[in-house]
């Protein structure tokens, strides 16, 4: 039985770009909006565009010392800002101070974190919770608004595979992942798609803050269940590539027995799991070092409760 959720206004909204310095759509959009905010202006909302990792952006590299999008752990965030730390930890402390503190009532309401991927994921919205009804309603609104363009929703609540993202500082974190796009490249179609999604996302917030009620709805999602690494030799070197039948097939069913990898000497390695699964993040360049060839998800449906703003 669904009942209405009454939520405060989402007044403080941030748009993060350059969390990975070579993911160009977000870097470009944020720089554009830092210069001219007309496109992101909405009544009743303060929208702050922000480059999270400026040194990595300047070098057009993913990160300087460590991955910023893994740096917002409780351990890191309890460190003292004045001490000597790897660059990204210093940055995480600064971001937590400006947009957080994470977990407190002062934290920003919504943070959109803009990313690109070399995987053929199309437009993907990434949620960290299946119980965040504001976010669920937002993604539902976005999906309807951009149709017939598809927008997948990935939920990562996995206890071990979930990670401490830069956006996790906010009460309602949303990741935008658009691909395929090589690192360091700006493709027109990918850029326009990301821009469009953000336009609708900000419209939603404006409508919500303005008092519009969003009735209960269902959202089809993909839930992360497992990570699959490349086959490696005893020295840890990769011995196979993503199979041509799997390459670019993000969100499509992978059945037991389907080809998964092709070794450099021409052998096929098949998927040996018991059920049909839905792989994504297939052949993401940045994940070779994270021991991930792709991520396995299962399909699910989440229910978003009716939401309405409560103006205190």
């Amino acid at each position: 039985m669904s009942c209405e959720v009454s939520l405060p206004e989402a007044k403080k909204v941030a748009i993060f770009g350059g969390t990975h310095g070579n993911e160009m759509s977000g870097v470009t959009l944020v720089n554009l909006w830092l210069k001219n905010r007309a496109e992101i202006r909405r009544s009743g909302v303060e929208v702050q565009p922000f480059i999270t990792n400026p040194r990595a952006v300047e070098k057009c590299t993913r990160y300087i010392d460590i991955d910023l999008n893994r740096a917002f752990t409780p351990e890191n965030l309890s460190k003292r800002e004045a001490e000597d730390h790897p660059y990204e930890i210093k940055r995480a402390l600064e971001i937590n101070r400006i947009f957080g503190p994470k977990g407190s009532s002062d934290a920003y309401d919504v943070i959109f974190d803009l990313h690109n991927t070399t995987s053929n994921m199309g437009c993907t919205l990434i949620l960290e919770s299946s119980q965040d009804h504001l976010n669920l309603q937002m993604v539902h609104y976005i999906k309807q608004a951009v149709a017939p363009m598809t927008c997948s929703v990935l939920v990562n609540e996995h206890p071990f595979l979930q990670y401490s993202t830069s956006r996790s500082v906010a009460k309602h974190p949303i990741g935008l992942e658009v691909g395929p796009q090589p690192q360091g490249v700006l493709r027109s179609n990918i850029f326009q798609s990301m821009r469009l999604i953000l336009r609708h996302a900000l419209d939603f917030i404006e409508l919500f803050n303005g008092g519009m009620e969003f009735p209960p709805c269902t959202v089809d999602v993909y839930q992360v269940t497992e990570r699959v690494d490349y086959p490696r030799d005893t020295n840890g070197n990769i011995t196979a590539m993503v199979h041509p039948n799997l390459q670019d097939c993000d969100w499509e069913p992978l059945n037991p027995g389907d080809p998964m990898f092709l070794t450099f000497d021409g052998r096929t390695v098949e998927y040996k799991g018991g059920n049909t699964v839905y792989p994504t993040f297939i052949n993401e360049a940045a994940y070779y070092e994270k021991q991930q060839a792709f991520v396995i998800t299962k399909r699910g449906t989440l229910i978003a409760r009716q939401i309405k703003v409560s103006k205190m």
Partner: protein, 382 residues
């Protein structure tokens, strides 16, 4: 198949025929000039006979050429280089696979293969380079720079590679360098060379075009003199970069792997056959010669780019660009158009590594090159 142009009848206008005739001797001279101690051109006759044909008298005169077979030394030592850019993954893995196999296949005609990881530190970090682009360090000047503690890593490495595979321009250098690269641009398979008269490289390209019909295979010529040639393949007596795309850097795609491994297999196959005495007949080939580079529109103050490659140009490498065709789409939604009068062929469209070099894409002119028959030099023909 006609072995030479002897008795071939060409139906051309007088004017263009005269220019073709005047080009041919120059082409031969270029070969000898470039490899003075290597090329043995057995030219018996180069004569022109004008034949008036009664049937076609009211049309142009026909010209008949005679061109002999070019004898060239065997290609005995071949360097296959990967990881010249440390994040161009196909070459890295291909060379690592070659390193696992034995160095020389059976048979005297099989070349000695030297698999080389050109930039091991960049490969280890999966970056294009550590301090400076290795593939810009092979000019004669840079190869002679005195090395000190402050010398960038890649310059030192270039000099090491020049000792190992060269020295550039000398008789000791390897016979052929095949330097493996990937690009984010939709270029299929391209062989990129500084020469339009390196018959070995051109015949190899033709061989790949014939044997890999499902993949677009092209030859790109950068008209740069040898001393100023800046990339690794200029170290060998013959050489080319084998560029395969599109592939994101840091990724290995199975389809691109298939294309590059087949390309390398065919290069070695051609060399083996050439070394064993097979004659490869003369051909007319189309090649692309670099004309100029085009940068992105940029903000005059910040130098940041203000547009993306237009959707109608993105992924359209080698599709002829005409005056008035769209090039860029600005962030504010305006289109910028190609203003040049001469239609040209774009390539390296949206290559990620070229943003920092101020290049959105390059433009080339297509031209026909007459490649003579080639055969390996034997003791008798020296």
């Amino acid at each position: 198949m006609v072995q030479s142009w002897r008795r071939a009848r060409l139906d051309v206008t007088v004017a263009s025929t005269r220019s073709m005739w005047s080009k041919n001797p120059a082409t031969w001279l270029k070969v000898i000039h470039r490899f003075p101690s290597l090329a043995s051109v057995s030219l018996q006759e180069l004569s022109m006979v004008t034949v008036a044909d009664q049937e076609e008298e009211r049309r142009s005169s026909h010209l008949i050429y005679k061109m002999e077979v070019v004898s060239l030394p065997a290609v005995s030592r071949v360097a296959i280089c990967g990881g010249t850019h440390g994040n161009e993954m196909t070459g890295v893995f291909l060379v690592k696979e070659l390193q696992k196999r034995k160095r020389k296949e059976e048979g005297a005609e099989a070349p000695d293969i030297l698999p080389v990881i050109s930039n091991p530190r960049a490969v280890q970090r999966c970056q294009r380079y550590i301090e400076t682009d290795l593939n810009r360090c092979f000019t004669t000047a840079t190869l002679s720079v005195p090395v000190s503690d402050g010398t960038p890593y890649e310059i030192q490495r270039a000099q090491e590679l020049n000792v190992f595979l060269g020295p550039k321009g000398s008789v000791k250098s390897v016979d052929l360098v095949c330097d493996l690269h990937n690009t984010t641009a939709n270029m299929g398979l391209c062989l990129i060379s500084y020469s339009e008269c390196d018959w070995i490289s051109l015949h190899i390209c033709r061989h790949l075009q014939k044997e890999m019909p499902s993949v677009p295979v092209r030859y790109i010529h950068y008209d740069v003199p040898l001393s100023e040639a800046y990339s690794l393949e200029s170290v060998g007596k013959h050489g080319f970069a084998m560029e395969v795309g599109p592939q994101p850097h840091g990724v290995v795609r199975a389809d691109v792997w298939g294309t590059m491994t087949e390309g390398v297999r065919l290069v070695l196959d051609w060399i083996k056959r050439f070394n064993s005495g097979v004659q490869f007949d003369d051909k007319v080939m189309e090649i692309y010669t670099l004309v100029k580079t085009i940068d992105y529109p940029r903000d005059p103050e910040t130098q940041m780019i203000t547009a993306t490659i237009h959707p109608q140009l993105q992924d359209h490498d080698f599709c002829l660009l005409h005056q008035g065709d769209p090039l860029f789409l600005t962030f504010s939604g305006n289109t910028e158009y190609y203003r040049g009068e001469e239609p040209l062929y774009p390539f390296f469209v949206n290559e990620s590594a070229y943003y920092e070099k101020g290049i959105a894409f390059l433009l080339a002119r297509k031209k026909k090159v007459n490649i003579p028959s080639v055969r390996v030099m034997t003791r008798e023909s020296v």
